[in-house]
Chain length 398, copies 2
């Protein structure tokens, strides 16, 4: 197990697999997080889960990075919903990311709402929840916070960083910002920058939240109100983008919900309506509306080529520049029916990696499940990742 020095933990005796409690690492006033927006976030905490055992030379650590509405509970039951971890197909004993072999870390991102410092945290300047006074964060900020945690755990180099969607953006950011600290990387169903359409869908979600009078300019905690309707609409709009038209057609088609004919009204006549409403209204129980604003904003700001150029004081830069000199081994995966981050986005990443002669394998997986395929039971994805991790482990001498 990792040295737990510096780790204030509420980890219970049953271990991470019991699910409810996370480790929490506190970064005090001496360890501020300098944000891309120019301010320091301090103090801050990171909530995380671990699975498996860190080996003696600390060379078997795998960092899992989560998507927009994900959290640190990748492979244990979610404390609020009781549901299985969001990547329980992928992470566990004998799974592609095998916790019998690897020490797996999964943390909640900065700006999140599952224990890591975000807009629901208390602002030390006011003793009130931050709300909209939380500083706008970026994917780069999330990753620098993770790097501080990994360093605090005494791990010099991660054997692997893996994640899908926004998790994949963090994987790419890790490889660009800390190339020597990533032995292998698995960005799945992701993009190196948010497209106009990606931003547009997020903007609709944000406007839906902000249109809810219970949002109260982000001060809903203070007023005992909650913008659940707005957040539910945001989730519904986003949820459509996670599924392919084929998946929706197969799952629902025009099937009616518990009735033999349409009712000529505005009840949920169709199963797809009932499903979407359920997605919206269960989401509000597990996610914070302001966190949704901040995390979607971080994704919209993500543009790895431009970010890398800016941080290095260059007028402009290509995506290849962000990866120049990398020795990381990459496995890039996309899904044929993912229209949110389509294969063309993965190809741009692969082209950039090829341009700098990186070690990269790329697979486009045939699936009609849409973007959400990275979270689902996709044997070809599992086979791809098992094979890549096995080969990387041999190269690493594990």
């Amino acid at each position: 197990m990792a040295t737990m020095t510096n780790v204030e933990t509420s980890f219970d005796a049953e271990g991470a697999a019991s699910g409810a409690q996370s480790h929490v690492h506190v970064f005090g006033p001496d360890q501020p997080l300098r944000l891309d927006g120019g301010v320091d976030l301090t103090p801050f905490e990171i909530a995380y889960q671990t699975y498996g055992e860190l080996n003696a030379d600390k060379s078997n650590a795998v960092l899992i990075t989560h998507a927009l509405t994900g959290d640190q509970h990748a492979a244990n039951a979610h404390p609020a919903t009781g549901k299985a971890g969001w990547w329980n197909h992928m992470v566990g004993p004998g799974r592609p990311i095998d916790t019998d072999k690897y020490f797996v870390i999964c943390q909640n991102v900065i700006g999140g709402c599952l224990g890591t410092t975000g807009p629901t945290a208390i602002n030390p300047a006011t003793d009130e929840p931050y709300g909209l006074n939380f500083p706008v964060i970026t994917i780069g900020d999330m990753v620098r916070a993770q790097a501080m945690l990994v360093e605090a755990l005494g791990i010099e180099q991660l054997f692997c960083v893996a994640g899908g969607s926004m998790g994949g953006m963090q994987v790419l950011e890790w490889c660009a910002s800390f190339p020597e600290r990533v032995f292998s990387a698995i960005p799945i169903a992701t993009a190196a920058r948010h497209s106009a359409q990606n931003i547009a869908f997020h903007e609709v979600g944000r406007q839906a939240i902000m249109a809810d009078p219970n949002w109260q300019s982000g001060n809903y905690n203070a007023e005992d109100s909650y913008p659940s309707k707005g957040l539910a609409v945001a989730r519904m709009a986003a949820h459509i983008t996670y599924l392919s038209e084929a998946a929706l057609h197969r799952k629902f088609g025009r099937n009616l919900q518990d009735r033999e004919s349409v009712t000529y009204g505005f009840e949920a006549d169709f199963q797809i309506e009932s499903y979407l409403r359920h997605q919206g209204f269960t989401f509000v129980d597990r996610f914070d509306a302001n966190a949704y604003l901040f995390i979607t904003r971080a994704m919209d700001y993500f543009d790895l080529a431009a970010d890398h150029a800016r941080r290095h004081g260059l007028e402009s830069g290509t995506l290849a520049d962000a990866f120049r000199g990398t020795t990381t081994r990459f496995c890039v995966a996309s899904f044929t029916s993912d229209w949110l981050y389509p294969t063309s986005e993965s190809r741009q990443i692969v082209h950039a990696l090829n341009a700098v002669a990186a070690n990269v394998s790329f697979v486009e997986i045939e699936s009609d499940k849409g973007h959400d395929a990275f979270l689902l039971d996709e044997p070809e994805l599992f086979a791809t990742i098992s094979g890549f991790i096995g080969a990387s482990a041999r190269a690493r001498g594990l």
Copy 2:
């Protein structure tokens, strides 16, 4: 000009081209509209515009059917916005639908909010606006109302019925319900039934409207409030589906709005955000929130094969059954980048028409403008329609 008997008109002396005023035809208690939902709508009015001159044997009438947020102002300035008619590229002197040759009729659909009876109209039972007490209507209801208007104008057979999107659904409905009254038909960028994804996007819009406390269960007129925020969110979500990813990328990409760098805040940093907000907030000035609910519902209910089977008391039916025996000439058009009603939907229509040996031509037009291409300056679309209408006119002896 058409005989104006039975037409109560507020048409001004300058003619339709001046834009502000529409003809209004009143259908009194002796002429109820029997709705698919089982109730009679009575009395009701239809607001419509005409362009060009009806010939002596009334054989040159073209009916234009509008899309979800369209109206009767196809080729004249919109009375509320002052903008050019929504199909002014297509309809006018020397245009593909040539008002020097044809008598063009365009009416506002039942359930609409531009003069035709819809939820903003006064419910004679209560002397209050209908609001949610307006009966849920269908595409079939819209078309039967149009058929009553066409009959009132003394036109036995329309030379052509043409429309895109929901307008295309009405075209198909006309051909299935009144085959002998349609000489030629042009359904563009449409589908013979709403898919699960189509329904899902509409449901998000409806939930956004209903989430707005100003909506007040549809009674906002009575209370001097208006659900503008909810309706704006609905419009923004829908608007994304009208454009292709490529069009958004070309038009906006990640360009910033009047600033050199991102602001690390929630202002509209990106042009796409500013554009979407503008689309949302200008829409509420020209459209009624309840009308948006009723018309999206009508589209979701549309399933021509099932509707035709139900009306004819059959257990089930194919789309081909709906067209069996047709002598109408069809021109079906789709756009390569339309992901709302993709080419596959048009192909299903064409396959059904082929199965009953209909006279059908089909063109998939190369365009990166997405669904909205049917409203835009698309030379290949114009050439297709000019050619089809010219050939149809010769066949009709015009």
